[in-house]
Amino acid sequence: MTQTVNNNRNSLGRRGRGVVGDRTFLIVSLIAGVLVLAILALILLTTLREAWPAFRYSGTDFVTSPTWVPNDPDGDGPAKAQFGALAFIYGTVIVSIIALLFAVPISIGIALFLTELAPLRLRTPVVTVIDLLAAIPSVVFGLWGIIVVGPRLVPIYDWFHDVLGDVPVLGSVFGKPIASGRSFMTAGLIVAIMIVPIITSITREIFNTVPTEDKQAAFALGATRWEMIKGAVFPHSFGGMVGAVMLGMGRAMGETIAVALTMGAAVQIVPNVFASGNTLPAVIAQNWGDPGSELGRSALIACGVVLFGITILVNYGARIIVRRAEVRMKGAAV
C-alpha cells in the first residue's frame, strides 16, 4: 500500500490543517489581481472628479475650442480664462499619424525579416537590437531630438518647403519650417522610432502563427518569396496587424516627454507639419509646475482625462482585435 506524506486523511480534504493557508493565499492573490481593475477604476474616478470643475467651466468648448489661455489676466486681455483643448487633441492625432506613417512600414519590414528572410544567425542580434531600442528611455530620445536631430532636420524641411511650397495642397502641409526644428514632424519622427519595437513584436507573433503549410503551398505553386508573403502571410495576419498598429498608435498618443521636448509648445491648429504644436500629455508635463490657478490645474487634469479616454479606447480595441486574430490562428488554447 502506498504511503502518503501525511497520514492524516483530513489534511487531504476540505477540513484539514492547510485549508486556512489555502484560503488565505487565494484571497491574497485574488486581491493582488483585482488591484489592476481597482487602479484603473480609481484613475478614472479621481481624475474625473478633479477635472470636473474645468469641464463644467468650459462645457463642450473643452474639446471643440482651440483657445487655451489659463489665467485671468489683470490687464485688458480676454476677460476670463479659456480652456479649449482642441489644439492639443489635434496635435496628438497628427503626431500619431506621422509616427505611424513611418513606423508601420518599418515594423512590418522588420517582422517579415525576422520571420521570413533572416538567416538563423541574424535573428537573435536583430531581436536584441529591437529590444535595446525599446529600452532606451523616452527622455533620452527627447534630449537627442532637441539638441541633435531638430536643428539638423531644418535644412531638410527647408528643401521640402522649397520644392513643394507652391503645390496647392502639399504646399500648406509642407509650409515654412520653424527655425529650431521643433515641430509636428520632428516629434512624429522621434515617436516613430519609439513605437517600432512594440509594433514589430506583436506583428512578429502574428506572422509566426501563419501555418507553414500555407507558405509551402504558395512556394509549391511557384510563388516568389514576396508573392508568398503577399498571398499567404498578409491575408492571414491582416487582423493582427491592424491590432498591432492600433497598439502602436496608443503608445504614440501617450508619449509625453519626447514630444514635450521636440514639439515646440505652441497652441495652434495648422496644416503645416513643420510648425510647432502641442499634445495633450505634453501640455500637462510642461505646465504642471505652474498651472496658474486651481482651475488651471483642473483643466490640465481634464486634458489627462481626455487622453485617458482616447488611449483606453484605442488600447482596448487593439487588444480585442489582436486576441481575436490570435484565437483564429492558433485555436482557442491561448
Partner: protein
C-alpha cells in the same frame, strides 16, 4: 523533358517552368525590390539606435567622472562643475521601493490568474485590463498619484514617485509572471499535490521556484522601464539639489534632471544632461541585458 531517375542530380529533374529564369522579369523585379525594402527597413530601424547610442556616449563621456556621479546638483544651471549625485540616489531609492511594492503584488496577481482564476470571467477581465493598463500613458499614473496621494498628504515625495512607478510596473510584472507560471509543466503541480501538499504549498515550494528565473527577468525588465520614466516623477516628486536618501520630502531623479537640463541654453547644463543620459542609459541597458540573459539562459523551454 528529363526522366525522373532517383540517382540523378536534383537540378536535372527540375522542369523548365519551375526555374527561376522562367519567372517573368516583372515578378523577379518585384521580389528583389521587396526583399531590398525589407533589408532597408532593418537598416532604418538600426540607424537611430546607433545614432542615439553614439551621441549619448560621445557627449556624455566628456563630463563623466567620479565627481560627476557624486557631487551635488548646482542650483544655478550655468554653474560649471557639480554633478548629478542626488539624481542617481533619487532614481535608486524611488525605483527600488517601487519594485518592492510592485513585484510581490504582481507575482501574487499572476499566481491568481494562472493557478486559481485561469479562464474564469474575472481572470479574463483582469488579463485584458492588465494588457490595457500597460498602454496607459505614464503621465496618467502621475496624475492619479498626485490626486490620490500628494494632495492628501500635502507634499510631494519620493514615496509618491514610488507609488506611481509601482502602478506602471504592476501590469507588466503580472503579465510576464503569468507567462512564466504557465510554462511550468502541470506534472510538477500534480506530483506535489499527489504527495499531499496543499495547493498554496505547491505554488510556493514547487511552481514559483520553477518559474523564478523567468519571473526575475520579467521583473528586471519592468524595473528598467520604470527607471527611465520621467513624467510621473516630474509630477509628484518635486525637486532637490542635495541628496535625499529618505522616501519623505521631495527628491529628484535622473530622467527629470535630463528633462530640465535639456532645455537650458548653457553648455554646462546640456553637458550635464548628456552625462545623466549616459548614466541612465547604462543603468537601463545593463538591467535589460541581465533580464534578457536570465530569460534565455534559464527559461523553461516551450514544449
Amino acid at each position: 523533358m528529363t526522366t525522373f531517375a532517383p540517382s540523378a542530380p536534383a537540378r536535372e529533374s527540375v522542369p523548365d517552368s519551375l526555374r527561376r529564369a522562367s519567372l517573368s522579369r516583372r515578378r523577379r523585379l518585384t521580389d528583389v525590390v521587396a526583399r531590398s525594402l525589407i533589408w532597408l527597413s532593418l537598416a532604418v530601424a538600426v540607424v537611430p539606435l546607433g545614432l542615439v547610442t553614439y551621441y549619448v556616449i560621445a557627449k556624455g563621456v566628456h563630463v563623466m567622472s567620479w565627481e560627476f556621479l557624486t557631487e551635488r546638483i548646482p542650483r544655478q544651471a550655468q554653474t560649471a562643475g557639480g554633478g548629478i549625485g542626488p539624481a542617481i540616489i533619487g532614481t535608486v531609492v524611488v525605483t527600488s521601493v517601487a519594485a518592492l511594492i510592485a513585484i510581490p503584488l504582481g507575482v501574487l496577481g499572476a499566481i491568481y490568474l494562472n493557478e486559481y482564476g485561469r479562464q474564469s470571467p474575472l481572470a479574463r477581465t483582469i488579463r485584458t485590463m492588465a494588457d490595457v493598463m500597460t498602454g496607459v500613458p505614464s503621465i496618467m499614473m502621475g496624475l492619479f498619484i498626485f490626486i490620490a496621494f500628494v494632495l492628501l498628504v500635502g507634499e510631494k515625495s519620493g514615496f509618491a514617485g514610488s507609488l506611481a512607478l509601482a502602478c506602471l510596473m504592476l501590469p507588466v510584472v503580472i503579465r510576464t509572471s503569468e507567462e512564466m507560471l504557465r510554462l511550468v509543466p502541470d506534472e510538477l503541480r500534480q506530483a506535489s499535490l499527489a504527495l499531499g501538499a496543499r495547493k498554496w504549498k505547491t505554488i510556493v515550494s514547487v511552481v514559483l521556484p520553477a518559474a523564478i528565473s523567468g519571473i526575475t527577468s520579467g521583473a528586471l525588465l519592468a524595473i528598467a522601464r520604470a527607471a527611465g520614466e520621467t513624467a510621473p516623477i516630474l509630477l509628484v516628486v518635486g525637486l532637490v539639489y542635495r541628496a535625499n536618501w529618505s522616501l519623505f520630502g521631495e527628491n529628484t531623479a535622473l530622467p527629470v534632471q535630463i528633462y530640465r537640463n535639456a532645455q537650458e541654453p548653457f553648455e554646462t547644463a546640456v553637458d550635464r544632461a548628456w552625462g545623466a543620459a549616459l548614466t541612465l542609459v547604462a543603468i537601463v541597458l545593463f538591467t535589460t541585458l541581465i533580464g534578457r540573459f536570465l530569460a534565455n539562459r534559464f527559461a523553461i523551454k516551450e514544449r
